[in-house]
Subunit: 398 residues, 2 copies
């Protein structure tokens, strides 16, 4: 028999994928235009033109060996330089190529960082609601997970609750702003309080406690900009991916930035290299590294997401739903009309409305709505939400 | 402080990289044409034309979302189908798309497989000489490593020694044929004996013992073809990469084939999916998956490697060196002219000859010569080897 934990991780039916498969069946049965699928966080907009231009230019001008050959484990020098320059320019924060480790996307950034930082028995704090894979990644890295709920209503971090959760075994806290699944952008004020708390706890326990800042949605924000966390807290390792900003999730390209202010930064960077090596990440895909060097400051045109967000958010408020303002990413976290989110989401299927129960995100009683879809899908979904609301109302459940 | 083992893995100076850096210094000082660098296993030939054609065709005809979007964790259906069909056709062996898991290259194939199969405390047998990363990958997967020497001279597996090493904790043996660093292609006769031995040991210990067949060099052979190990031993998981066959090592694309004859094959496949997931491998790079579906049966023109091999092998024999015939990959494992390989390789630098001591491969007293270089580099290297030989002879060391 294989490793039982790995088997279970592999056999575990992803709720999102189940809904997606159900949707495929419905699309085949009644036509895609009649199914309102808000289940998948899959970019629906085009990569910027510069991205396609860059690929084609490299294919024309570079030799195959230069283009498709190994880069060093941490990445091609020009790519690491471009990323470091981008951080310096945008955030006025010190960053050198030697602080940058190029990765195969956001998940790789996280697993490498967790394996680099954690010893067996360490604890990693997750702020609920959170991306469910965090638990899988942290447990595989040998850590155990401690979940702390965000404030109800606005989904901002609850500093006092985090304070209660930190202990002598805490190694890291994962911060994800803009947030999947809530769309919340964490307020700088709260993050400063978090930094003060962690600094105090580091002293108390004479131990490094890291913020792992998972930022795949950094560029997707519609009001306040997400804070640059390395500027607020020294022991920060930043995990980035270009999947969402360039709409290329299948290409698996991102980076880890070990802030030079991290305690023993050189050792932490070496551990990142060692974790990448021992997990089998030889180098990030080479062609994409070249393209990132060209497109590091580019972003897909997110105007479509903003329009979808406005349409969906206002539509839901108008119907009567309780929704906190989604400031970033492409998700809305909706309060369900009954305590059981799975029951609510199941009932929504009657209107061909496919949404994901918040339970696996640590957000019971909520549903995640992904608005990275066509405008028509939002419009159809809103008709469903209206009918659903009326149904609950008729039953005097609300 | 970060995880100490990861830090050490990251800080560990790779001998090969050190030599490469030294070479960079020499190239800058005296010109690349005067440095005879046989240290790196980096493909020196072009990808097949069909590969470039396939990339360009997809960029022209596919929409960006279809091309750069997520595939399922195990891979795009058409890619898994193409790989399974290729196995069926070439090896007359049963293979279905559901047996294929697409990976980010050979290292990912191995780490995912090792993490899927091993429980903490399990042992993995390595046949020395072996690719040094095997140890890193196996240890990170929680296993410990047991090294068994191949037969001196021809570097074939020593079945009787393997028999002594197998015990109640053995979970797997990594078989790498064609072999890095020796170039040996393991004889089918020996592999059949190995299969018989493992079948017996499985019964004795009432426990699955897997062959992990690491085959990045499968297509690079110049005489006898490597055996298709799933046909010889049921509990085989095959790890493949297109890095060498298509000369695209930076693109990180390969696959795992869980033979349908594996005991509890569905559970093993689930564990592969779970290991991939928990190590952060969301999907193999999407564009490359499309290209592999087109180019699955293509190979770079390896004629240049064959010529290099003939030139280097015969040249070394003519001078008087002891070399076993290299049947595959692009390596020759040379018996050094003194017991210490590091001392021998250091002395070779006098002739601008850069070769890697076999010690880190578990092959003390040998040096690895990579002949994936230009013909002129081989010619210059042979002049160096001649001078080196004469020097040892003059000192009456040989």
């Amino acid at each position: 028999m294989p490793n039982e934990k790995m088997r279970a991780f592999g056999a575990e039916a992803s709720v999102i994928r189940q809904i997606f498969e159900y949707g495929n069946g419905r699309r085949a049965a009644i036509g895609a235009e009649n199914v309102f699928d808000l289940s998948l966080g899959n970019p629906s907009i085009e990569p910027p033109e510069s991205f396609m231009r860059s690929i084609k230019a490299h294919l024309e001008k570079d030799g195959a060996q230069a283009l498709f050959g190994y880069t060093s484990g941490a990445g091609a020098p020009e790519t690491r330089r471009a990323v470091a320059e981008d951080i310096k320019k945008r955030f006025s924060f010190d960053a050198a190529p030697s602080d940058i480790y190029m990765t195969c996307g956001a998940a790789a950034s996280l697993t490498i960082t967790l394996n680099a930082l954690c010893d067996p028995g360490d604890e990693v704090i997750l702020l609920a609601p959170f991306f469910p894979e965090y638990r899988v990644f942290a447990e595989k890295a040998g850590a155990s997970v401690k979940v702390v709920n965000c404030r109800a209503g606005d989904f901002q971090p609850d500093i006092s609750e985090i304070g209660k959760a930190v202990n002598a075994r805490t190694r890291a806290i994962i911060v994800n702003s803009p947030n999947n699944p809530t769309g919340a952008v964490y307020a700088e004020e709260e993050l400063k309080k978090l930094a003060a708390l962690l600094n105090e706890k580091q002293k108390e326990y004479a131990r490094d406690i890291f913020i792992i800042s998972d930022e795949p949605y950094r560029e997707l924000c519609y009001g306040k900009k997400p804070s640059f966390i390395p500027a607020l807290y020294d022991n920060t390792v930043l995990c980035y991916s270009y999947s969402k900003s360039l709409s290329i999730p299948g290409e698996r390209i991102g980076y880890i930035f070990v802030s030079p202010k991290v305690n023993n930064a050189k050792d932490v960077f070496a551990a990142v290299c060692g974790a990448g090596r021992s997990l089998g990440y030889v180098c990030a895909p080479a062609l994409m590294q070249r393209v990132i060097a060209d497109c590091v400051s580019e972003t897909s045109d997110i105007e479509e997401y903003r329009k979808n967000r406005d349409l969906l958010y206002k539509g839901l408020l108008d119907i009567g739903y309780e929704v906190s303002p989604p400031d970033g990413a492409f998700y809305i976290f909706l309060k369900c009309l009954e305590p059981s989110a799975p029951a609510f989401c199941e009932r929504a299927k009657k209107y061909e409305l496919l949404i994901v129960p918040g339970d696996s995100f640590g957000g019971e009683g909520y549903a995640r709505l992904a608005y990275c879809v066509k405008k028509e899908t939002i419009e159809g979904a809103l008709r469903g939400f209206k009918a659903l609301y009326d149904e609950y109302k008729a039953e005097k459940k609300i």
